[in-house]
Symmetry: C2
Subunit: 338 residues, 2 copies
DNA sequence: CTGAAAGCGCTAACAT
DNA sequence: ATGTTAGCGCTTTCAG
């Protein structure tokens, strides 16, 4: 059995009886090529099934057409969604996406970034873990955009988390809730802090507006996952009816879904006995029972801006804060009459 | 501002006063290098922060350390889970994963594969779309493994879907259900057909075992998504209580979750009025309300075998069919007494 | 055990 | 308008 190597510029050049330079020019859509010759070359390319090697090209240009995507966990629906849009956009522009999971581990993140840098990527999109070490190792020449979580000294594209927190609080307040719980993310992450601050700030405003109608807020810290939402939800809900919160907001949808679980197990009906509002609006949010009221992040827009920043006109200036939006579904209602 | 290029073998060689060949040998852990020189070189490498360029290396070896992962949609939890495990394994072995979504479009798939081939990947893991065209364009030299869905002429690593279908049917039958619905995937895909055949086969066995106790099976075809599960679920459930199925099996968990939605909207209680069994056991299956009984695919094992096939001892022989397992949770129960 | 040199596939500067 | 050629960073013979 004979191993057939894939054809190179040389093969094409020989077959078309032109030089490699000409082939390269045809490939580059350089207009200065004689139409007749161009056609001959294109024919040969088609006939041989020639596809230019990314490797050779990238080495020569000292820049590959790879975009690195470095995220904590592709299994998180938010990042999966983001990855999909990023990949679609990148693909349309002729780039490919290299996926790397950090599992929320700064050392793993570092290793992933190092290994990515060896590939001379065209750009890198990173959602840094808390306590990220990569700030120092990203070379100056590399275009990078951080998403979701900020990294000192790099441009951030993210939703306005503070405003998002406020939105959730406003909604609950307007429904009439006065005993409210909040499940935050790890307070080591900036996202968590922003969302919590927004939420708390709005609640405190309400409290001071009408002193006779105090709002009682209980905040508990957890991780950004289902389990955490379930476990912390249990804690918040264990008091008896008159004392436990009538509404709980969470720092992301997974927590909210975990909380839904906990409520069900505890025999607490949503939204009759308990209102729940999440954050992110992952696709699943509209599929769970009941459908989740949540604060929507414009993921597609985040992806678009990130790609534009990487491939487009130039680096973005300062952090970009996108507007969140409250999506009202079935998990929130006025508090029970009692 | 001066642009600092990353150092190359040359720089290291000059600084360490050795030849590039020696530097390369140090990198390759070649034992024939004088320990003193080796140490000197390693020092310089550390001092300059030198990292060998993947590009140069790959070009020279005509093989990159990239593994292509070509799947319909990373947003599908099953593929996200798979991607995570693959990436973790690949990363540990010094490889990176390039992600490409085909959106179930044969033409897009073709393009993605083409663009991947330009990168001379070390291997490719592909879950082909139905009507895939890539069978012809994969070069002989390339190690590839197809997962989930088969591709003629390529080695497949997947769960035994036929057996999985049987498992679901057995469970429902044993609980005593006799009016059963089945929501299949697109019958253009082999997976769907296998699962359905397994399911139907088992049901027919039961019917012939005891002729007096006929089982009534209604099969409807849909897509592998939430929406389809919801829509088709509605159709299956629209008859009145005495006629509609007391149990429905689906071809994947997303459909089952959509079906859960539909049941809730129709006021049909699960599992009291209706039993539901899914397929895949995505993480979400144990989070929904009620927790979903489902047929588990050993995703991690699939990833391991795929990676081993790509990077390990050699190509795998013939299709590998892994054992599925029934995971009993809260969405199935005996049929209502009536 | 180490150095010198060729060459992987490609592009771009230079020459014609 | 087209051909020639150097060289991107690396590995690997082949000499010494």
């Amino acid at each position: 059995m004979e191993i057939v190597l894939s054809p190179t510029v040389k093969d094409v050049a020989r077959e078309a009886r032109v030089s490699v330079g000409t082939v390269s020019r045809v490939l580059a859509r350089n207009e200065t090529v004689n139409p007749g010759i161009r056609q001959r070359v294109e024919e040969v390319i088609a006939r041989l099934g020639y596809r230019p090697s990314s490797l050779g090209r990238s080495l020569r240009l000292n820049k590959s057409d790879i975009i690195g995507l470095i995220i904590p966990d592709i299994t998180n629906p938010f990042f999966a969604e983001l990855a999909k849009h990023l990949e679609t956009l990148a693909s349309a522009a002729g780039y490919s996406v290299l996926l790397a999971n950090t599992h929320d581990d700064p050392k793993a993140e570092c290793k992933q970034v190092q290994s990515l840098l060896c590939r001379v990527p065209a750009g890198i999109v990173i959602a840094p873990v808390s306590g990220s070490l990569v700030g120092g190792i990203l070379p100056d020449g590399l275009v990078s955009v951080t998403i979701d979580r900020p990294l000192t000294g790099h441009s951030l594209v993210a939703v306005d988390n503070f405003e998002g927190g406020r939105l959730a609080a406003s909604h609950l307040l307007e429904l009439g809730h006065r005993r409210i719980g909040y499940i935050s993310g790890p307070t080591t992450t900036d996202v968590s802090i922003q969302r919590l601050n927004g939420f708390r700030g709005r609640v405190e405003e309400a409290s001071s507006d009408r002193a006779q109608d105090l709002v009682q807020l209980t905040v508990l810290e957890g991780n950004f996952d289902y389990k955490s939402g379930e476990a912390i939800g249990r804690k918040l809900l264990q008091g008896n009816v008159g004392r436990r919160p009538t509404a709980i907001a969470t720092a992301n949808d997974q927590q909210a879904i975990g909380l839904l679980r906990a409520s069900r197990d505890l025999g607490i009906r949503v939204p009759e006995d308990l209102s729940i509002v999440g954050f992110d609006d992952i696709p699943l949010a509209s599929l769970v029972l009941p459908r989740l009221t949540t604060v929507r992040q414009p993921i597609e827009e985040i992806a678009e801006i990130a790609i534009r920043a990487l491939l487009g006109s130039g680096p973005i200036v300062g952090p970009i804060a996108l507007r969140p939006a409250l999506v009202e579904r079935d998990s929130t209602a006025p508090p029970p009459a009692c």
